[in-house]
Symmetry: C2
Subunit: 201 residues, 2 copies
């Protein structure tokens, strides 16, 4: 019924918006109506920004980052430490580390983690290119910045074994109490890791 009322153009817009993560059918309708009302200040710029993104954004052939230049801004940045390679599962993880200003190095995006249950094997990830990059003479350390989940840690172990013969130090992120976290709310595994990996005050 709503189809006949709102017109096929609006229905199509709502259906596409509803496929975005974070938006359901109801909020997609609200978003579509909001866009129609904010025609010039929002709908037109968003249409243009999507078209520009479509025209310009590619996947970096070196690290797998998304950017409008290839190799990407990170890979071509001369101020970054060329001796450290940070391995992440996804572009979102790269963005998170960069937002935190955690490290000024280059990245390697796997495109996921090993997951036998989901049928994701080594050939589905950018692992062979990682081995190639890690054996470059300037690289001395590979940091495995993978999720502390079963899949993430399985992937970390797999890569560590692959790089055993390469002349690089393989490290992983520290486990411990999150900054601002309360001990009372933490799980046993995190608390045990925080004690095990305690540092001198």
């Amino acid at each position: 019924m709503a189809k006949a009322v709102a017109g096929v153009e609006i229905e199509r817009l709502i259906q596409l918006l509803a496929r975005l993560p974070g938006l359901g059918p109801r909020s997609a309708r609200r978003a579509a109506l909001f866009l129609i009302k904010k025609r010039e200040p929002l709908m037109a710029p968003l249409a243009a920004a999507l078209q520009t993104a479509l025209d310009t954004i590619t996947v970096c052939r070196t690290c797998g980052n998304v950017d409008s230049q290839n190799p990407c801004t990170v890979c071509t940045d001369p101020r970054r430490d060329p001796s450290v390679l940070v391995v992440v599962a996804d572009v979102a993880d790269l963005w998170a580390l960069e937002r935190a200003g955690a490290i000024n190095a280059r990245y390697h995006i796997l495109g996921g983690t090993l997951s036998p249950l989901d049928g994701v094997g080594p050939d589905d990830l950018a692992i062979d290119t990682l081995v190639g990059r890690a054996s470059a003479p300037e690289v001395t350390e590979v940091i495995l910045a993978l999720n502390a989940t079963v899949d993430g840690q399985t992937t970390a172990h797999y890569i560590t074994e692959l790089l055993a013969d390469a002349d690089v130090k393989v490290t992983r992120l520290a486990h411990g109490v999150p900054v601002g976290g309360e001990l009372d709310y933490l799980d046993d595994g995190t608390l045990a890791a925080a004690i095990r990996q305690r540092t001198t005050f």
Copy 2:
């Protein structure tokens, strides 16, 4: 920092997506990344749908609905009862009534409700055109389908007084227990109204 990494095109897309209702800065980043990954199946169609919407969607000069034709599909639908005019505050309310299949009549969209605190007066709403439409000979009933809020009811009273001299019956939505609602959780006003407006079983 994220700007230098993700590129201005992606940052621009994230900023615009973050302005949609229901999406914040964090979910806008997720949505942007999702769009970049689903380039052909989602980003391209969404860009096209937004452009089509920009090119075709206008506000109906009769009722204020948004549609790709003017007068809109609802106003030109010959199967709708021409004697009833349903007054709503917003297009979203029209959509809600149509989704419910509540009534097969025509609509009049005010574009908001009277709100002295927010500086919204009668001249800011499509009230004069409503008076014009309500005095058409074929119109016998005006249903005020406005929110059961202070602003909604103020607007309903204002319109009722304006239409006192017109030859139309002015009605409003029933108050009562929502279908599926539990008495225990309802507010006093709703319960009192449900008792007051009780119907014969």
